[in-house]
Symmetry: C2
Subunit: 189 residues, 2 copies
């Protein structure tokens, strides 16, 4: 499992200065948060390994080594797991575009998958970093947008009005499960 702790810079006088999570990318924030959730016995949520197609391998004393392989397109979302007895699945994306979230970020088979997760009673959402802010957008509200609009992107205003802002903090760096509590366990939706 990938674990990376916040950067610390040790100054000459041995005082430790924490630069916290400033500038850390969304995937790192989520991996750190998921490690925190697992270690604190709160949830079991993992990033799925990117599926690869292996072409060639050879055997070394340390085990099998891949000599040639390629990345496959994912047909599900990046993260899934178990929280409060419920199945959770989500995709995390950052965009540099400030006014909208381009929909080419989400593959058509992933859209179908979001529908399927809802159908089978799971919790499904997107975590979108846009305009230096991080939002959780419920899967059903995401599907609603693409059903009712013929656009290639979701405007920032739709995300900020219908999504829930996730605040960055220390532990976990991105406490998205407190937002999940509000939306899916607190009756706000």
């Amino acid at each position: 499992m990938f674990v990376q702790y916040p950067n610390h810079i040790r100054k000459k006088n041995h005082q430790i200065v924490s630069y916290g999570n400033r500038g850390m990318d969304l995937e790192n924030l989520l991996n750190l948060s998921n490690s925190y959730y697992e270690n604190s016995n709160i949830a079991l949520i993992y990033k799925k390994p990117t599926p690869i197609g292996v072409v060639d391998v050879h055997y070394s004393p340390k085990g099998k080594v891949i000599d040639k392989a390629f990345f496959k397109a994912p047909s599900t979302l990046d993260y899934n797991g178990l929280y409060r007895g419920k199945y959770i699945e989500f995709e995390a994306k950052e965009t540099k575009c400030k006014t909208s979230f381009p929909l080419h970020n989400i593959h058509p088979h992933q859209i179908k998958h979001i529908k399927n997760v809802i159908h089978h009673g799971g919790i499904v959402f997107l975590i979108i970093k846009i305009n230096l802010q991080i939002y959780l957008l419920d899967g059903d509200l995401f599907l609603h947008y693409i059903r009712t609009h013929q656009r290639k992107s979701i405007p920032f205003s739709y995300i900020s009005e219908n999504g829930y802002l996730i605040k960055e903090k220390i532990d976990p760096p991105l406490d998205y499960l407190s937002v999940v509590d509000q939306i899916y366990f607190g009756g706000k939706l």
Copy 2:
């Protein structure tokens, strides 16, 4: 997603003789069954890609190509997903040993993970092919055995007495969810 259909051999008189799933390995049976479950809108269950550590890549016109990588040890179980609103996770193993299931097949961090899935309210089990039979062994009964015995393997008798036999059929080739229905939704446990 991997899909493989049962082998058919076309005889000279054009009659199609199906050899069904005879000799198909457990992973193929499960992948076929999971495709069936997804296409029939019954469940969403996937084999997780084996995690790899990528060492070198290069870029070709068709995309990124991995030139060197190695397989990592998994810290969770091989399959997870969503069925009837519930989180499901399991490991599938075959053994050629007829009298017992060697416990080195399950890593210590996977044993910890099974405990965690139970703690968080998920359904977790092993599917074990032993003696040409396929059994579903509930995670809690698996943990019970290793808690109460200092042995390096689980005897076949424990698996056949405490596990549930999964029968091979045509569609899906391995209908383990009908056994899940009995155990986790029918109140037999």
